[in-house]
């Protein structure tokens, strides 16, 4: 009886192993025939190519592994920016779609239908080349507030030059820990004595005062470096100093967030509409004001519907960021599965590493969102 149950599973396992074994054996034989060696040793070799935009120090004298990290961090950067903006736009548009105001509701609906029905790659090209055509050359750029310069060669913004940056960061961490304690204390106080504490005000105060103290007492100071125009030749200019966001990053982040936001907006709408009308009426009947109804009754229930499909959208956005190669944003696919693959010719090794990396990224996002989902799920008592 038991054996009968296990047999199909055992057979499936054997078949899977055989198929996998066949393919790896086949690859091995073919590679041997063509004199291709297999190994990850190349990762420590000098890469000898440069990358235009990197969060860590990198140039061609570093290793291929370092180039991999550059690509990975750039992928994470554009994904995080994309996720943050997609969430903000998505929530706003999702709620706007439920608005009683006809104009707002229609605008939101048109936005959603328009952006989610055009292939993402086209949108990326559109934003990139539209941006390139529309943006001024560096010498013709009008400064925004005198210090920001949006040009075809990138968005040049002032940079902070820090002294004792670590102390400043510690003060921020300390402030966050303090806020957590205040919240726990406030909750207890409310449960025991029924007195509400203004947690938000205290939190903001802590976030301002502690870092301020680090400036006054900890010897932290920051000077601001403003980008200055520089002439490269008779007709070509660029900016020096400050921080530069390449136009590739801006247009990719823009395209990704506008596209993904449409799906998130639909998740939000579904979530809010999924809470039954009776809940709101019941909440109102026990004397909660509309804000409290939304915060204490509707949102907690809506979030349970919103979170799982939104997780999918976060995963999609992260994976879609690999379209970056089309517009020269140096993400993991362009730097590692592109240039590094070409220069070393190690297709199997590099593609396997890249696949594993995306898998790890996606699983990390999944685990975090599942944890959050569990946290807000109904706790049966």
């Amino acid at each position: 009886m038991n054996f009968k149950k296990i047999l199909p599973q055992l057979l499936t396992l054997v078949v899977v192993i055989l198929v996998f074994g066949f393919f790896s054996y086949n690859a091995q034989v073919n590679m041997e025939n063509r004199g291709i060696t297999f190994g990850y040793g190349f990762l420590s070799q000098e890469s000898s190519f440069d990358v235009q935009f990197s969060l860590i120090e990198y140039d061609g004298s570093h290793s291929y592994f370092r180039a991999y990290l550059v690509g990975l961090l750039n992928t994470i950067l554009v994904s995080v920016i994309g996720i943050v903006f997609a969430t903000i736009i998505g929530v706003v548009v999702g709620i706007a779609r439920l608005s009683n105001n006809y104009l707002i509701e229609r605008t939101a609906a048109i936005y959603v239908e328009f952006f989610r029905n055009i292939p993402l790659l086209l949108q990326i090209f559109f934003w990139y080349f539209a941006a390139l055509r529309a943006l001024p050359l560096p010498e013709k750029a009008e400064p925004i507030f005198g210090v920001f310069f949006l040009t075809i060669k990138g968005f040049f913004v002032p940079a902070f030059i820090w002294n004792n940056l670590d102390i400043f960061i510690y003060s921020l961490i300390a402030a966050i820990i303090a806020i957590v304690f205040v919240r726990v204390y406030a909750k207890k106080k409310q449960e025991n004595q029924g007195i509400q504490t203004p947690v938000l005000l205290i939190s903001i105060g802590l976030l301002i005062i502690l870092p301020l103290l680090s400036f006054l007492l900890g010897g932290v100071n920051a000077s601001i470096e403003i980008p200055v125009i520089e002439q490269l030749s008779q007709t070509s200019f660029t900016y020096k100093g400050g921080l530069k966001l390449p136009p590739e990053l801006i247009s990719l982040a823009l395209a990704l967030s506008l596209y993904t936001a449409t799906f998130i907006a639909e998740c939000v709408r579904a979530g809010v509409q999924g809470v039954s009308k009776g809940q709101k009426e019941a909440a109102a009947s026990i004397g909660l004001n509309p804000n409290q109804v939304l915060k204490l009754v509707v949102m907690p229930q809506a979030l349970r519907i919103i979170i799982p499909p939104t997780t999918n959208q976060y995963l999609n956005l992260t994976k879609n960021s690999s379209l970056a190669a089309a517009i020269a944003y140096p993400d993991l696919v362009l730097v590692f599965a592109g240039t590094a693959l070409m220069q070393t010719g190690r297709a199997i090794e590099i593609v396997s590493i890249t696949m594993l990396t995306y898998l790890t990224l996606s699983i990390t996002i999944s685990i975090f969102m599942n944890w959050y989902n569990k946290k807000i799920a109904i706790k049966e008592k």
Binding site: M31, N33, R34, G35, I36, T37, S48, F49, D50, V51, Q52, D59, G60, F129, L132, R133, L137, I152, K153, E230, L232, S233, Q234, T235, S236, T238, K240, P247, E248, A325, A326, I327, A328, P330, L334, G338, T339, L341, M342, Q343, T344, G345, R346, A347
Partner: protein, 346 residues
């Protein structure tokens, strides 16, 4: 009785071994790629996604270019018809994988011959059909007239996955200039980005620059700087491990170049059969048994010259007459001051 059966089987077995041995050597001679090509009835050729003069498709899907002609020559030699080629457009990134994974049998896609490509990743370069070098294109009004005029902060647009990326770093490093590399997967995007002003310079092989300049909105506003910063011998590539096929591709290319050297053209090839020069007669298959050495018939080289033409004809048709590079430069025959020099066909 048993003894007889035993003896009989051993004899049969011996014959069987002998037979398989002989058929195997014949098969080896014929080469797997050659056999597959003849069975399919077309040559599978990997080309660029559109580089005028080298490999470019017109609106009707007809491919032309000097790289395309190499594949056509092989088709003429192997299948007897230069039109029996299936072209696969490939990006720089895809090209080697397509070849090693058996998607194509010849890669003729302005590919630079380097040691690591030849030795490390299962490829074999069979020759050079264009001697090139990396250069820079700039706007004429920029006042930059030499590579020495570049300043730190210069942004350079180029293609992903090419030797260009490496040469560019070597070059700017040796000058001590900090630069911004902007690398795209497809050439069309590089051109569009440079055209829009994203980059101060566009760098790739000089032939590529000359060809892509035509695609800019105002080609006359741009110029290619005189300096050449690298050696880029471009040539067809085959998979490692099929030496017969490798020889066929190599000698198809060599035939075109040698035909020019001896003045054999598509127009006069048939008449050359009665030439007094034995080298010319060998070239058109009127003397010697050169085809058999490659596993082909003896008219293979004649078909190449008649259907595709010699190298000079191909260059004129594709590169000179289209205004890309009217001056042949190093791609002139060694007898006329260039460096085109191929081993003799004999």
């Amino acid at each position: 009785m048993f003894k007889l059966v035993k003896r009989l089987t051993s004899v049969v077995a011996m014959f069987a071994v002998l037979f398989t041995f002989t058929t195997e050597t014949m098969a080896a001679k014929k080469s797997k790629t050659l056999k597959n090509t003849q069975k399919k009835g077309f040559v599978r050729c990997g080309v660029s996604q559109g580089l005028p003069g080298f490999s470019n498709a017109d609106a009707a899907g007809n491919w032309t270019g000097v790289d395309v002609d190499v594949c056509r020559a092989v088709a003429a030699a192997v299948l007897g018809d230069s039109s029996k080629v299936k072209f696969t457009p490939l990006s720089a990134k895809e090209r080697f994988t397509a070849l090693t994974s058996n998607e194509i049998d010849i890669l003729s896609r302005n590919t630079t011959w380097t040691l690591s490509r030849d030795a490390d990743i299962g490829l074999t370069f069979v020759g050079v059909n264009f001697y090139d070098g990396q250069g820079f294109m700039v706007r004429k009004n920029s006042g930059i007239s030499s590579v020495n005029d570049f300043k730190a902060g210069v942004s350079a647009c180029t293609n992903l996955g090419t030797t260009t990326e490496l040469n560019m770093r070597d070059f700017f490093n040796s000058k001590g200039i900090k630069y911004e590399p902007v690398t795209f997967e497809k050439a069309d995007e590089v051109v569009a980005a440079y055209d829009a002003g994203r980059c101060d310079t566009y760098t790739t092989d000089k032939s590529g620059l000359a060809a892509q300049r035509i695609k800019l909105s105002n080609p006359d506003d741009h110029m290619v700087l005189p300096e050449t910063i690298s050696k880029e011998p471009l040539g067809p590539v085959v998979r490692q491990g099929d030496s017969v096929w490798e020889d066929i591709v190599r000698w198809s290319l060599n035939t075109m170049i040698e035909a020019e050297e001896y003045g054999v053209t598509s127009a006069n090839a048939d008449m050359m059969k009665t030439s007094d020069n034995p080298a010319v007669k060998r070239l058109v298959g009127a003397e010697g048994e050169l085809g058999a050495a490659l596993g082909l018939d003896n008219e293979w080289s004649l078909r190449i010259i008649k259907q595709v033409g010699n190298y000079g004809e191909s260059y004129k048709r594709n590169i000179a007459d289209t205004g890309i590079l009217p001056d042949r430069g190093p791609n002139e025959l060694w007898t006329k001051g260039g460096i085109l020099y191929v081993p003799p066909a004999r």
